[in-house]
C-alpha cells in the first residue's frame, strides 16, 4: 500500500544533507510551511541554499535558520521587507550570499526544473542588472535572456489536505509557490492540516498530484 504519510517529524525530515538546496513555499507568511522550517532548524542540516520568495521576518522560522548560520545562500525575489532584520544583518555583514531573481523568472525556473526544461529564454530582466552576463538572443524582435532551471534537493511545502498518495489541495492564495516547488525538488515534504481518505479529493481539483510528493505530515490541530 502506498502511504506517504509519515508518523513524526524526524521521519519527515530524514536525510536532508548539508549543502542541500531547499525550496521553501509560501508568499510572505501565507502558505509558508512554518512547522517544517522549525523541523529543519531542529534537524540540523547546514550550508543550505534556500529558495523562497522572501527572506524571512522577525527572528523565527526562516530568519532563525539564517541567524543560526545554517544558510549559505538565499535565492529570492523580494528579500528586504518589513521585519527582514536578520537577512539585512547577515547580508550587510557578508555572511549570506544573495541571488535576486524576478519573481516570475523564479517561478518559471522551478517549473522548468519540474518539467524537464533545463533552460529557457525570457524577455524579463533583459537589459537590467539582474541578468548581466547571461546569454541573450532575439525572438520575434524581442531581446531575451537565457535562464536556467532551478531544481531543489528538498521542497518544504504547506498544503491544506492530502491523501495517502500525496495528492494535495491548497487554501486560496496559500497555493502560490507550493505546487511549483513540489514539482521541482527531488524530495518533497508537505505539512497539511488534514488527511483525506483516498478517493475523497476531487480528481478534477487536485492542485498537486501525488507523483510530486514524497512525504506528508499532518499538523497538530490547533484550537480554532
Amino acid at each position: 500500500m502506498i502511504n506517504k504519510i509519515v508518523r513524526d517529524m524526524a521521519e519527515a525530515m530524514q536525510g536532508i544533507p548539508d549543502g542541500a538546496t531547499v525550496l521553501v513555499g509560501g508568499f510572505g507568511s501565507v502558505g509558508q510551511p512554518d512547522t517544517l522550517i522549525d523541523a529543519l532548524i531542529e534537524q540540523g542540516a547546514s550550508d543550505l541554499t534556500v529558495v523562497a520568495n522572501n527572506a524571512g521576518t522577525g527572528r523565527v522560522g526562516l530568519a532563525r535558520l539564517m541567524e543560526l548560520g545554517r544558510v549559505r545562500k538565499i535565492i529570492c525575489s523580494f528579500p528586504r521587507s518589513a521585519g527582514s532584520v536578520v537577512f539585512e544583518e547577515l547580508y550587510k555583514a557578508g555572511r549570506l550570499e544573495l541571488e535576486i531573481v524576478p519573481q516570475g523568472t523564479l517561478a518559471e525556473r522551478m517549473r522548468a526544473a519540474g518539467a524537464g526544461v533545463p533552460a529557457f529564454y525570457t524577455p524579463t530582466g533583459y537589459g537590467t542588472l539582474l541578468t548581466e552576463g547571461k546569454p541573450t538572443a532575439e525572438f520575434c524582435g524581442k531581446m531575451c535572456v537565457l535562464e536556467q532551471a532551478l531544481p531543489g534537493d528538498v521542497a518544504l511545502v504547506q498544503a491544506h489536505m492530502a491523501d495517502r498518495w500525496g495528492n494535495l489541495t491548497y487554501r486560496r492564495s496559500a497555493r502560490n509557490f507550493n505546487p511549483v516547488m513540489a514539482m521541482a525538488a527531488k524530495l518533497t515534504i508537505v505539512e497539511v492540516d488534514e488527511i483525506a481518505p483516498l478517493g475523497t479529493l476531487d480528481p478534477e481539483a487536485v492542485a498537486t498530484p501525488g507523483i510530486f510528493v514524497d512525504r506528508v505530515i499532518q499538523l497538530p490541530r490547533t484550537a480554532a
Binding site: 508568499f27 510572505g28 501565507v30 502558505g31 525575489s77 523580494f78 528579500p79 528586504r80 521587507s81 537577512f87 539585512e88 547580508y91 550587510k92 544573495l98 535576486i100 531573481v101 524576478p102 519573481q103 516570475g104 523568472t105 517561478a107 518559471e108 522551478m110 517549473r111 525570457t122 524577455p123 524579463t124 530582466g125 533583459y126 537589459g127 537590467t128 542588472l129 539582474l130 531581446m143 491548497y170 487554501r171 486560496r172 492564495s173 496559500a174 497555493r175 502560490n176 509557490f177 507550493n178 505546487p179 511549483v180 492542485a207
Partner: protein
C-alpha cells in the same frame, strides 16, 4: 512667472485619474502604493478583473475585519477578497498570465521613466544593498500595456521624467503612459507627449519640472495607445 495658481493632484486623485482610463473587461495588475488605490476608483458597475502575482485572478476589495481570510492576500500582503468569477492558480501559472501577455494593463509606481519608455522602479543604485525586485520586471516586460503612476518630481524637486534613467532599469522601452500629480503623458516614438495637465499648470511650468523635452499630444490619441 507666477506658480501659485495650479493644483497638483493628490495621491487619491492620481489613482482616480488612472481608474478613469481603464475600460470594462480589462485584466489588470496593480503595483504596490498608489497603483493599488486605483481599484477603489473603478466604479462597481464597470467590471475589471484584477490580478495579483500570488495567484489570485478576480481580486476584490479588502474584507470587513470580521470577514478577513488569513489565506487570501494580494501581492502587497494585504488581505483581500475574491469576486464571483475569480479563480486561484499557482505562481508559475500566475506569472504565465503576466509574462504571456495576457494582462491588458499593469500599473506600477516608479522612481524614473525615460522618454524612450525605460523604467526604473526597484533599486535606487547599482550598489543598493539587497534591493527587492518582486514581480516588477515580469510585469513591465510582460503586460500588454505598462502605465506608471508617480509624483512628477522627487521631494527635492528633481525630475522623474528623464532623458535617460539614472537608477537601475526594471525594463527597457516598456512604459506606454505616465500619470503624475502634474500631468498625464504618453510615451511616443518622439518622446513624452502631454495628454493633460493639472488645472492651472502651463506647459512651460510642466517642462521646467521635467528633464526630458515635452510636446503636446495629438488631441485624438487613445489612452496609452500611441507608443
Amino acid at each position: 512667472m507666477s506658480e501659485t495658481a495650479f493644483a497638483p493632484l493628490s495621491r487619491k486623485d492620481m489613482a482616480r485619474r488612472v481608474a478613469q482610463d481603464i475600460p470594462e473587461g480589462w485584466y489588470v495588475n496593480l503595483g504596490i502604493g498608489i497603483p493599488t488605490m486605483v481599484a477603489d476608483y473603478v466604479p462597481a458597475s464597470r467590471e475589471v478583473v484584477f490580478h495579483s502575482e500570488n495567484g489570485v485572478l478576480g481580486m476584490g476589495p479588502a474584507p470587513a475585519p470580521e470577514d478577513a481570510d488569513p489565506y487570501l492576500i494580494n501581492a502587497g500582503k494585504q488581505q483581500v477578497t475574491l469576486l464571483r468569477g475569480g479563480a486561484y492558480v499557482h505562481h508559475a501559472d500566475s506569472f504565465a498570465m503576466i509574462r504571456g501577455g495576457h494582462l491588458d494593463l499593469c500599473v506600477l509606481g516608479a522612481f524614473e521613466v525615460a522618454e524612450n519608455g525605460d523604467v526604473a522602479n526597484w533599486a535606487t543604485s547599482a550598489n543598493d544593498t539587497a534591493p527587492a525586485v518582486g514581480g516588477a520586471m515580469d510585469l513591465a516586460a510582460g503586460a500588454k500595456r505598462l502605465w506608471v503612476v508617480m509624483e512628477h518630481t522627487t521631494k527635492d524637486g528633481a525630475p522623474r521624467l528623464v532623458k535617460k534613467c539614472g537608477y537601475p532599469l526594471t525594463a527597457m522601452g516598456a512604459v506606454r503612459r505616465v500619470y503624475t500629480n502634474l500631468a498625464v503623458l504618453d510615451v511616443t516614438p518622439q518622446g513624452f507627449a502631454v495628454v493633460e495637465m493639472a488645472p492651472g499648470l502651463t506647459f512651460e511650468e510642466l517642462q521646467a519640472r521635467t528633464d526630458a523635452p515635452l510636446q503636446m499630444a495629438q488631441p485624438d490619441s487613445e489612452p496609452g495607445e500611441t507608443a
